[in-house]
Amino acid sequence: MNSFSLADCTTVEAALSQLKNGAVVKAGGVDLLDRMKNGTDTPNRLVNIRNIRELRGIQSTPDGVTIGALTTLAEIADDPTIRAQYTILSDACGHAATPHIRNMATIGGNVLQELQCWYFRSAEFQCIRKGKEQCFAFSGLNQYHAIMDYGGCPSVAPSSSAVALLALNATIELTSAAKGKRKVAIQNFYVQPDANPHRFNVKADEELLTAIHIPKPAPGTRSAYQKYGEKESHDWAIADAGILLEMDGDICRRAVVTMGAASPVVRRSKEAEAVLTGKPITRDTARAAGKASMTGAMPLSMNGYKVQLFPIAIYRTILLAAGQMERDPSAAG
């Protein structure tokens, strides 16, 4: 890893004043230090926000909940309010990475996590997402890559929490010294690779992700998230599903179906949602929704299995959310 100077900040204001001249923000450090150790990122200066106390914690508001950007995944997963009312988020945070990493990694860092594509993570491959022209995955090893919406980069969305936050209609709060706070709906937060292959999200370099607001779920809401890997202990998702169901008695008034490991940006499956809306949740409707989620799938040379796996992940997670199935032993533990 290269050497760098570090501004250890204890207030948001102080941190914002340091965001200049290519300085890079570090919070928990899990993702950034991995890239720096790999030699893909070589910042000369870090702005350490880890010790900004005002950015840490979960606060209930009349409209929902506000989560400070530095709140760790473990804190979110274990929070009784999140568990009870935002189960999907507690599931997603509680099944990311390892217990130790969940003690270190922050929700802000998880939302901002960069791609896990092995070409992107290797200093030897100068790919389209690093400002060059080429993608190495299409003609290379792509078993864990995207099956939908990939355009010029089939790396998949790496953030588990974003799959939940998309389903929950969360808003990302960004703060800068010049413009103060602005709020971006999560569905507008990430940038599709074809729109701009060099940007992952709309956060500007001089902005800090300071908080995440989640609206209060409608009455009758049930939700769940499950992540499928090749193994249950510490693995990256090969398929994951976020399900949010607004129930009116037996009838699903509104359904949200989100997916992470299918595409470069976390996505909603309107097709799957349409299958569920206005119907009771049964094994049949859940299966049909799973099947519908693959509309438009275009698997690469090595990841056709995902087209079979995602519908099952979605089907089983719908039933989990509806209370009709236990947590899947084939999903991450």
């Binding site: 890893m1 290269n2 050497s3 092995w118 070409y119 290797s122 030897e124 491959f125 190495f136 003609s139 290379g140 090893l141 078993q143 499928y228 090749e230 193994k231 249950e232 202990s233 510490h234 693995d235 990256w236 090969i238 299966r287 099947k291 090595m302 990841n303 056709g304 299995y305 079979q308 796996l309 519908p311 099952i312 992940a313 899947d328 032993p329 084939s330 533990g333």
Partner: protein
């Protein structure tokens, strides 16, 4: 049947027991067989100097009894000092510069910026590379620097005062390459017009622990080094004689050892002595290689391995890290630490070769095997050693055999011995085909094996399986469950060999204060040999094992075996017992004058010195020691040949696996394993069970998850870490039941054998595959069995598959 061991390199390292030559012999009645099944006595002719025969374990005090690990507390408290924990005054930190391209001629290396970098004390450019195959005709390649044959090949190294300075300086070394065409896909490498890894025929000498190929001088066509052919009888006639033939194709992937402690050394070159702390499975092998490489007398090289963090076959010899660290130390005049990082560990210091096997078995209606034919290809990167015919050759009785083993060179790091080299691959194919054979003969799986397997221990093991709850719960009808999660149970057998490292010696000392110690250069690679040595002395002197001083892992002590091929316990323990026995006799002679008797009147049993003539009441060992006429007596002993090497049996085990196959997600969950295994006399059953648990889990990990992935277009390993190179973790661990078949063969004063290789990893793949068949009615002949592979197998047209 004749025993064909395909990797005779192991034998080159480890002499197979020869004939007894000692003139002065005696006869001894020894326990033979398995208690509760086949136990009886047989007479052996043994050297007169041998200690009395030990009874079976239940009649011993310390040996064979569960014993806490001698160094357990040091490990649990973090005080155990591993190689990377060694800190010497003025020690420097070294980093390699590695190739970033898979095949190239190095034109120039500019080290000037590194040399002048602050904190740098020495820089070394490698001109002689260790590892991998070498050209038969070295004149085919003329270059100052070694030809680069894989990404990650070490090229140069830097030693500096801090790890950061070494890393920074290494990054400043500029290497100019003339890149050459390369190939990293084995199937492509077999094609006629493939790029060539070597410009001519190349061979690799066997490495310690069974890596490398036995066969030099075999034909080489393009990248295909082979076949090494082994034939017995007319196999075509054998197939003509068969009533049934099973014929199948199997593939397995490359696995990396991934020991948690990477390869590395701390080398301290002083004018009078080169001291090397090494993470190694063979202090002797490291000393030998360093002495040869630097042309130093063996007496001027000392190798120390107090603790080592896993090797699994990859850690023999000094290797490039050893010789480079020693060179940097000599140049800098200071000790140098060179530990590989995780990426280097995946790339440059060994792996288990892949396999592509076509296996045909012909049999009579009664199961008798008339013919086995195995044609295998496998890649050991730019090395050799991909043979996998051991199980097909040695597990069952056959009338005719035809084996062809081929190594396929690719531009990847050379393989190394890996826990039962070749056998997990070979058993994966053989034991599935035997199950298929049983099905086509309409025979019970165990009955067929009873008919064709002559090993007496496995016969008992199958009996245990037959009577086990798990096997009784097996539904012989495949694909019996209706839901998406299907349960299945399968089994596989394993075979390993009685290799011995005859160069195994130890010294035992008895001190006047009653303390006893054992010294040997042997290293404890985690199997627990320290504890076993303490138990042997405890048994002899009647002191608790925890109070025995065990000094090992240092070439200053008597030479020890290299720990590969399950040789350590079988080889060293008789030498230690003999030394302990002889030291005890010297001890008795030393106290006899003070006790007023002749030494021949004294015995030492159960910690008491006794007078045969009844001259005095028994005296405790420690009290008697106080009356020694010297401060210390000692005896050194080395391994003598097996008592009756003609009575040679292989070792083995039978493993049963229960799986739950999620037919919708393609996940295989191993729920339960029953592992029935043989390691001769179990010295410390606790540690034996630990090793078997480990073999089973490593086998599950290999079968389901692990896969070295090389990008086909750039030759770079894309998962050279421990998150995308996937290793079984806590959730993947099934319930494991271990049953030891305590088996006496009357071969040495301890009659112990090894367990490392046979312990589960050989049979896990086939047991899981056979259980998968039982669950689904589908054969899965490819590893690793990831969801992609499983779903593809299940997607083959099959009436009973549910629609999505």
């Amino acid at each position: 049947m004749a025993t064909h061991t395909p990797h005779s390199t192991l034998d080159a390292l480890i002499n197979v027991a020869g004939d007894t030559t000692d003139a002065s012999m005696k006869t001894a009645k020894m326990p033979i067989g398995i208690p509760g099944f086949t136990l009886h006595e047989e007479e052996r002719t043994v050297p007169a100097s041998e200690p009395p025969v030990w009874p079976i374990n239940k009649d011993l005090s310390y040996v064979g009894k569960p014993q806490e690990r001698w160094d357990g507390r040091a490990k649990a408290t973090g005080r155990a000092r591993y190689t990377a924990d060694v800190q010497l005054p003025g020690m420097l930190y070294a980093r390699f510069v590695n190739s970033t391209v898979p095949h190239a001629r190095v034109l120039s290396i500019d080290t000037s910026a590194a040399e002048s970098y602050p904190g740098v004390k020495s820089v070394h450019v490698i001109e002689k590379l260790l590892g991998g195959a070498v050209l038969r005709d070295p004149t085919l390649e003329q270059n100052r620097y070694p030809i680069v044959r894989y990404v990650g090949q070490p090229i140069a190294a830097v030693a500096a005062t801090t790890p950061q300075a070494a890393e920074d300086a290494a990054a400043k070394i500029k290497v100019k390459y003339e890149t050459l065409p390369f190939v990293v896909d084995m199937d492509q490498a077999r094609e006629k017009d493939s790029p060539q890894v070597f410009p001519g025929a190349a061979d690799q000498a066997g490495t310690a622990g069974g890596g490398g190929s036995s066969a030099s001088g075999v034909p080489q066509t393009g990248n295909v080094h082979g076949p090494a052919v082994h034939k017995q009888g007319d196999v075509e006639q054998g197939f003509k004689d068969a009533d049934v033939i099973v014929d199948a194709h199997y593939t397995t992937q490359v696995q990396t050892h991934s020991a948690l402690e990477t390869h590395g050394v701390v080398a301290d070159w002083k004018p009078d002595l080169l001291t090397v702390y090494a993470s190694t499975q063979g202090t002797a092998s490291v000393r030998e290689e360093l002495a040869a490489y630097f042309q130093l007398p063996m007496s001027k090289v000392r190798v120390i391995t107090e603790f080592m963090g896993g090797g699994f076959g990859a850690k023999f010899g000094a290797g490039n890290p050893g010789v480079v660290a020693a060179t940097l130390s000599r140049k800098a005049g200071a000790p140098v630490r060179l530990m590989l990082d995780r990426q280097e560990e995946h790339l440059s210091v060994g792996n288990r070769p892949s396999s592509d096997q076509r296996l045909r078995i012909g049999a009579k209606k009664d199961g008798t095997i008339t013919a086995i034919q195995l044609i295998s290809f496998g890649t050991a990167g730019c090395g050799t050693g991909a043979g996998c015919a051991g199980p097909a050759s040695n597990l069952y009785k056959w009338a005719t055999l035809h084996v062809e083993e081929n190594d396929v060179f690719i531009n990847a790091g050379p393989a190394a011995a890996f826990r039962a080299p070749g056998h997990p691959q070979g058993a994966f194919a053989l034991e599935q085909s035997i199950d298929e054979l049983a099905a086509s003969l309409n025979m019970d799986l165990l009955d067929l094996r009873d008919r064709i397997d002559e090993n007496p221990v496995r016969r008992v093991q199958r009996q245990i399986i037959r009577e086990s709850a798990i096997w009784k719960s097996r539904n012989p009808r495949a694909n019996a469950d209706v839901g998406p999660i299907k349960r299945g149970i399968g089994l596989s057998q394993s075979v390993w060999y009685r290799h011995l490292a005859m160069d195994s010696a130890a010294e035992v000392r008895v001190h006047k204060d009653g303390s006893v110690e054992v010294l040997s250069a042997v290293q404890d690679i985690g199997s627990g040999i320290k504890t076993v040595l303490a138990q042997i002395l405890a048994e002899q002197f009647g002191v608790p094992p925890a109070q025995v001083e065990v000094k090992i892992g240092d070439t200053n002590y008597p030479v020890g075996p290299n720990s590969g091929g399950s040789v350590t316990t079988a080889s060293l323990t008789p030498a230690v017992r003999d030394a302990a026995w002889q030291a005890a006799q010297k001890f008795l002679a030393s106290v006899a004058p003070a006790l007023g008797v002749k030494a021949s009147d004294l015995t030492l049993t159960d910690g008491m010195v006794r007078s045969a003539s009844g001259k005095f009441q028994p005296i405790a060992f420690r009290s008697a020691a106080a009356r020694m006429d010297t401060n210390q007596v000692s005896a050194q002993s080395r391994r003598i040949p097996d008592y009756d090497p003609r009575k040679y049996d292989t070792y083995g085990g039978v493993d049963v696996a229960e799986v739950a196959v999620d037919t919708e997600t393609g996940r295989i969950h191993v729920k339960h394993v029953l592992a029935v295994h043989d390691c001769g006399r179990p010295m410390n059953p606790v540690a034996v069970i630990s090793q078997i648990n480990g073999g089973v889990i490593q086998g599950i990990s290999y079968t389901l998850f692990e896969h070295r992935l090389l990008d086909p277009n750039y030759g770079i390993m894309v998962n050279s870490n421990l998150d995308k190179y996937k290793i079984a973790g806590s959730y993947e661990v099934p319930k494991i039941e271990v049953q030891l078949t305590e088996s006496y063969i009357g071969q040495s004063s301890t009659d112990a054998s090894g367990i490392g290789e046979a312990a589960g990893i050989i049979s896990a793949g086939a047991a899981i595959a056979n259980a998968f068949y039982n669950a689904t009615g589908v054969r899965i002949r490819q590893m690793p069995m990831t969801p992609a592979v499983v779903l593809a197998a299940l997607n083959q047209p099959k009436p009973q598959m549910e629609a999505l």
